[in-house]
């Protein structure tokens, strides 16, 4: 890797592989290209405009989160999980809390489960809106869709701030419940945001879905077949965009998801447009879940009374807990040796594993499509590099 190889890799010419007159152009895209959503680099070989090779290069944001967690207490790792996928801190907290609860056999009170669903689905709403905004931004639609998306996201972030104290680094969940109960009037405010959300989605669809330029740029671009998606362990909206019906909220029914009625939207072609549509439809389903959860939330405690905050030591053993985060399957694999620190702490990052098929999707496409395909994967470098 290193800076020197990156610099020399910029625009080097190599003989074409087909033995013709043309030469291959090797381009180093990134690490600070605005469309790479962070510091991420791709070594791309181009034959004219066509991509013939693409190798992703990771690690620019690597801080060895897993090693840090081995020196922290179980609670001490919770704020670090916020910084994995920094758009969806609450679902990260949830996945970690779920894994620890499996490891130690902790029951979560009813009200806390509802709070988790409400905040988790709000996270999904704000993640998917901003991802669609970013996708359009990558496509060259500077400003408008992203600003509209951020305007809506802001309303959700305001809810998060008044509930958890922070807009992005929420650090909200604890083993056996949630940290804070709703302040007065929060539920009404949340209901208002949720009720208004479908109107915004209609507006977004009128603005984008029928747009001829968007269709030309996305339909048939970055096709991912069903078989490859399953084989490569793709999860989340990207998998469902390829038509595989696999949503961990339905499969594992973790938390209380079996109480809500919602559908799992599926794509047909597995191209960028389908992934975009799956996200839009998923938001409508999230709104349904939210309406049910806000209607049904019971009063009661929000923390399991038996679980200690300080001096938490689960018995020796291991557990793998996974959730459907907005990006895909976010799992935590924990091994305890009975001490206050985990012996092994592993994050299964959906962003990294969804990038496995990046080259397969980009081969044969134009160089400008790489940016669109990347945008449709929806990855966050904080989680890719950990």
């Amino acid at each position: 890797m290193s800076a020197t190889t990156a610099a020399t890799a910029h625009f080097t010419l190599k003989p074409s592989t087909d033995g013709g007159e043309g030469q291959l152009l090797e381009v180093s895209m990134g690490p600070q290209h605005p469309s790479t959503h962070g510091v991420f680099r791709m070594d791309v070989a181009l034959d004219g405009e066509r991509v013939v090779k693409l190798k992703p290069v990771f690690g620019y944001l690597h801080r060895n989160h897993e090693k840090i967690a081995e020196t922290e207490t179980y609670l001490g790792s919770m704020p670090y999980t916020d910084r994995l996928d920094y758009l969806c801190s609450i679902t990260n907290n949830w996945a970690y809390a779920l894994a620890v609860e499996k490891l130690a056999g902790i029951q979560v009170p009813e009200r806390a489960e509802y709070l988790r669903v409400i905040t988790g689905e709000l996270t999904r709403l704000q993640n998917h809106t901003s991802v669609i905004g970013f996708l359009l931004q990558d496509m060259g639609a500077s400003g408008t869709p992203l600003m509209y998306a951020f305007r809506e996201r802001e309303k959700v972030l305001d809810l998060f701030e008044s509930l958890t104290g922070s807009r992005m680094m929420c650090n909200y969940m604890r083993f056996g419940g949630c940290r804070a109960d709703m302040p007065a009037g929060w539920l009404q405010q949340a209901q208002k945001v949720v009720e208004a959300f479908p109107r915004f989605l209609d507006e977004f669809e009128r603005l984008l879905s029928g747009n001829e330029i968007l269709m030309a740029r996305t339909q048939g671009v970055g096709v991912l077949s069903k078989e490859l998606a399953v084989d490569a362990g793709i999860t989340g909206p990207m998998l469902r965009g390829s038509g595989v019906n696999y949503d961990i909220r339905k499969v594992d029914k973790y938390g209380i998801y079996e109480r809500f009625s919602f559908k799992v939207p599926l794509g047909e072609h597995g191209d960028v447009y389908d992934r975009y549509m799956v996200r839009l439809l998923e938001m409508r389903e999230s709104v349904k879940i939210l309406q049910q959860a806000i209607r049904d939330i019971p009063p009661g405690p929000i923390m399991d009374a038996k679980t200690k905050i300080r001096g938490f030591r689960p018995k020796a053993g291991e557990a793998y807990g996974r959730t459907e985060s907005p990006k895909g399957e976010l799992g935590f694999y924990l091994i305890s040796d009975g001490s206050p620190n985990p012996y092994r702490y592993r994050v299964r990052p959906p962003s990294l594993i969804n990038l496995t098929v990046l080259e397969d999707m980009c081969l044969g496409q134009n160089v400008a499509d790489i940016v669109v395909i990347l945008g449709s994967i929806d990855f966050i470098l904080g989680e890719v590099d950990r």
Binding site: F58, L103, D231, G233, I234, P314, R344
Partner: protein
């Protein structure tokens, strides 16, 4: 699905394989299956292809480091004392080699069941650190096995592109190993304490104050 039945099914279909159930005492109850190197690929492809199992989705692949422990045991040794052979008890200290471990969490997207957890162990932590790669069976292991190679140093035979992934190419050690010593890259910090304070003191002694 019961791990015992899966084990006996694998044994029936992959002749000669050596399997062992690794129990897990935590409330999660996720027991795992230790498989041997020679038959790993056969076991994996059986799990993926058998019509009623169809573990087509390898979710999580990760490494674990189990360093060697010092084992103290009393051993009876026959010794010749005063011309007579006698049994003498001696305390012997041996260093076990330890091992590295790769863990695979399998689910089925078709049948929507799981997980089945596979484990493979290397013989030691220094030389015999090779394991067969399961990337030919599940492509999702590609980046994750690369990550294990990078951070733990397990060499996966048969991996299509085994390079470092998170650390840079010139990096030498494997940072996730338990005995990894971080390089001495002291930086001034206004609030040193604990390990940082030790480091700061050491550096200030060497340089005679800042």
């Amino acid at each position: 699905m019961n791990l015992e039945t899966i084990k006996s099914e694998i044994e029936a279909n992959v002749p000669g394989c050596r399997l062992e159930i690794v129990p897990n005492n935590s409330p999660s109850g996720q027991h795992s299956l230790l498989i041997d190197h020679e038959h790993a690929l056969f076991v994996a492809s059986f799990l993926r292809d058998a019509a009623h199992l169809r573990f087509d989705y390898c979710s999580n692949v990760t490494g674990i480091d189990w360093p060697g422990k010092e084992i103290t045991e009393k051993v009876k040794i026959k010794k010749i004392l005063d011309g007579v052979e006698q049994e003498v008890e001696e305390i012997q200290k041996t260093q076990s080699a330890g091992h590295l471990e790769a863990v695979y969490h399998l689910y089925s997207m078709e049948k929507k069941h799981g997980p089945v957890i596979l484990r493979m162990r290397t013989e030691d932590r220094a030389v015999r650190i090779h394991l067969p790669s399961l990337t030919p069976i599940w492509r999702s292991a590609e980046f994750q096995e690369r990550e294990i190679f990078d951070l733990y140093g397990i060499v996966f035979d048969g991996h299509p592109d085994l390079r470092r992934i998170l650390m840079w190419d010139g990096f030498e050690d494997h940072p996730m190993r338990r005995d990894y010593v971080e390089p001495d890259d002291y930086e001034y910090e206004p609030t040193p304490h604990d390990a940082v304070l030790q480091k700061a003191k050491q550096h200030l002694n060497e340089t005679g104050g800042r």
